[in-house]
Amino acid sequence: MPTALLARRLRLASQPVPFATGPNSITEGRHWRTPRFSVVRLRTQSGLVGYGECAPIDQGAFDAGFALIKGREATSFEVIRTILSGPVEAAINTALLDISGKIAKVPIYQLLGGPTRNKARAMATLDDPKQLAALQKQGYRAFRVPINQANAAARLKELQQAAGDGIDFVLDGGAKLTPGQASTVAAAIERLHPLWFDEPCPLANIRAVSKITDENVTPLGFGRSCTKTLEFQELLREQVVDVLRPDLATMSVCSIRRAAAIAETYYTAVAPFNTGGRIATAAGLHLAAAIPNFYVLDIPPGTATVKDGFAALPTAPGLGIEIKEGDWA
């Protein structure tokens, strides 16, 4: 960085910036941990309440994060985004958006400039092929299927036959293959046209990953191990990704929205990864309706109603879902 700019930055960084307070200031925070995720609740001075969800965190991580933001206005969610890090940022961001939507009396996607669509395409995880018919009956038309190197093409063909027309599959490598193995799989499934090949390999060496995209046209999904917008930027710059897969448990709606803005300039889709509960799914739906380049959201069965392959958008202010504390499904 040029010296003048660096000097300025350091000078500014050393000065504490004041913040405004008022009825929308955050005064109280609470955290619950379940085996699958954590839930946070924030309350404003005026009594509005917002909820958010993230990967399981310790009470200490919540307390430390909360201490940094206490007193700040709920609507300053972009400022708070830069103050926090780690999964707690994701949960607190959703809670702030929930409150901000309630302040503005609109669903979160309207607060953020949407809706860009009137429903959101849904995807279920298909761990056991025997569940296919039941999940289809529940309204799903897209499935993420774990595969290994040996069974990928055969598994996809079987599923395509069993499911019939109008049902599509994402093959999930779970970041367990090497780039070389993943490239072999991508070649084997290329003419079967899965939606995409998810996490074909770990993101260790992007140059090695680019072997897969150099040799095949099977679209690739990456991102559930990424926690920063700049990691997505790097994947896009290196042209190794067709579907951004930020995990709602570890990245906030506002951070993913920024990654989506970058992806837009590469004509690339965003499909948030989600294995959370109802709050994370609702956050994903609002995000889907706030960005132009959304494609599909993982919706664990039971966390939202799916019909004809799509989930309806919540319409009440904030997250727009009813929450019973303690009943964290």
């Binding site: 960085m1 040029p2 010296t3 003048a4 700019l5 000097a7 300025r8 910036v17 004041p18 913040f19 405004a20 206005e73 609507t75 300053s76 969610f77 972009e78 400022v79 708070i80 985004r81 830069t82 901000s100 302040i103 503005a104 009396k105 609109v106 669903p107 996607y109 309207q110 607060l111 953020l112 400039g113 949407g114 809706p115 860009t116 009137n118 917008t229 700049l230 997505f232 930027q233 710059r237 506002c254 929205r257 920024r258 990654a259 803005a261 970058i262 837009e264 300039t265 590469y266 309706a289 706030a290 960005i291 132009p292 958008l313 319409t315």
Partner: protein, 431 residues
């Protein structure tokens, strides 16, 4: 109107049938309004008005203001799409977009932005970009008023409730003017200024010309001191060959940035200049949409992105260029040299942009005739700094009230060309 849209939708649905080669494109004019009935607001756009406003009858840069009206009593929004030298073209383009908007929900600003940009097919240059900017700002003004929040709060700000740091132009005719400007800056708490380089530059320049340009910048630094930041706008007057020399020569002056060291079309040409010096490079005022900033940011050419809210595509697009820059550790210092509506709009984005550096306004330390008119229109000293910062508006939306009647004294004088300058041999020069 509603009836026609409804029939349009029915037509689109029935035309879905046979199409082998993409030849059966069916217009879906109604889709926007009808498809969002269950998830949109009850607010509907009823009218889009556009005004050309010339402060002087022969102005080469009349303001282009957009007013969007709704079906809710008194709820309307203002935006600005001023494009210097091309006012009538932007006015016509805003009118072209009326059909995109009337009958639809103003809350869906991202959707409308996408539709205006993508469905314009050829994408957007400065004319379409400025028209989208005016409409986008007006939609955000409506959104803020409908949600009873200033726009910077909808964007997740403010970074600093005291306002956003700004800079004025130096506007010195000679070195003798500088001591008074410096005193005035200290009195007003101004911490940053911008100046330019005198004259016009050929592809290759003489020793005398180079030395005089460097001396003029050194004079500004000497006259204003090292206590303020100074940016120098080359205004794309220089070729990469000439700019590289100047940018390197002024390194000891510790400038905040050199702006537009060469014209904006060729990123690699600008990269060549940037790589040859530690002086920070700022550019971007002529770029439309985040798409056109991508390469500059990706290649690490720019240190400070300067997209303009009246051309880039309004609040929506300025926010996105800021997001791109943030992920690359690049600052944002938006350009603003048009009217007060865009000026107010840009403050809202600045206040919610973590990588914001400083905000321009094409004014000096002294209140000029233009600023007096702005004060008269908006009822407060718009775009005048207090303690070096532009104060944040408290009111919902963009934070001001404005009546159409205010423009009566300043009728549209038509489009007039901007400055046309030529070299000694009669060939075309950049200014």
């Amino acid at each position: 109107m509603e009836r026609r849209f409804f029939l349009g939708a029915a037509g689109a649905a029935s035309a879905k049938a046979a199409d082998l080669c993409g030849c059966a494109l069916a217009p879906q004019a109604a889709l926007g309004a009808e498809a969002f009935a269950s998830v949109g607001s009850r607010i509907k756009i009823t009218n889009v008005k556009v005004f050309g406003v010339s402060l002087t009858p022969d102005s080469d840069r009349p303001y282009v203001f957009v007013k969007i009206e709704t079906n809710q009593d008194g709820l309307h929004g203002w935006g600005e799409g001023t494009l210097e030298g091309k006012a009538a073209a932007v006015i016509a383009c805003v009118q072209d977009f009326k059909d995109f908007l009337i009958g639809s929900d103003p809350m869906q600003v991202e959707h409308h932005w996408q539709s205006m940009y993508v469905h314009s097919f050829y994408r957007a240059g400065p004319v379409i970009g400025s028209a989208i900017s005016g409409i986008d700002q007006a939609l955000w003004d409506i959104r803020g008023k409908a949600m009873n929040l200033p726009v910077y709060k909808l964007l997740g700000g403010p970074n600093d409730p005291r306002g956003v740091r700004g800079y004025y132009h130096i506007r010195a005719r000679s070195k003798a003017d500088l001591p008074r400007i410096r005193e005035e800056a200290e009195r007003q708490g101004i911490t940053c200024f911008k100046g330019g380089i005198p004259g016009y530059y050929e592809w290759i320049e003489t020793n005398a010309k180079i030395r005089s340009a460097v001396q003029s910048i050194a004079d500004l630094r000497e006259g204003l001191g090292y206590g303020v930041d100074i940016g120098i706008d080359f205004h794309a007057k220089t070729s990469p060959a000439v700019a590289s020399i100047l940018v390197k020569e002024v390194e000891p002056l510790k400038l905040l940035f050199v702006e537009e060291p060469c014209p904006p079309e060729n990123v690699k040409a600008m990269q060549r200049i940037a790589r040859r010096s530690t002086t920070p490079i700022a550019t971007g005022e002529r770029l439309v949409a985040a798409y056109n900033c991508r390469e500059l940011i990706e290649m690490g050419v720019v240190d400070i992105i300067q997209t303009d809210i009246n051309h880039v595509g309004g609040i929506t697009a300025l926010w996105k260029t800021g997001a791109l820059a943030e992920a690359s550790g690049i600052s944002m210092a938006p350009h603003a040299c048009e009217g007060p509506i865009g000026g107010m709009a840009t403050i809202h984005v600045d206040a919610a942009t973590p990588n914001f550096l400083v905000q321009e306004i094409c004014s000096g330390v002294d209140v000029g005739p233009q600023e007096k008119v702005w004060h008269e229109w908006l009822g407060f000293p718009a775009m005048r700094m207090v303690n070096g910062r532009f104060p944040l508006p408290e009111k919902p939306g963009l934070g001001f009230e404005l009546k159409e009647e205010a423009f009566k004294k300043y009728p549209f004088g038509g489009t007039r060309p901007m400055a046309r300058v030529f070299h000694e041999d009669g060939s075309v020069a950049e200014w």
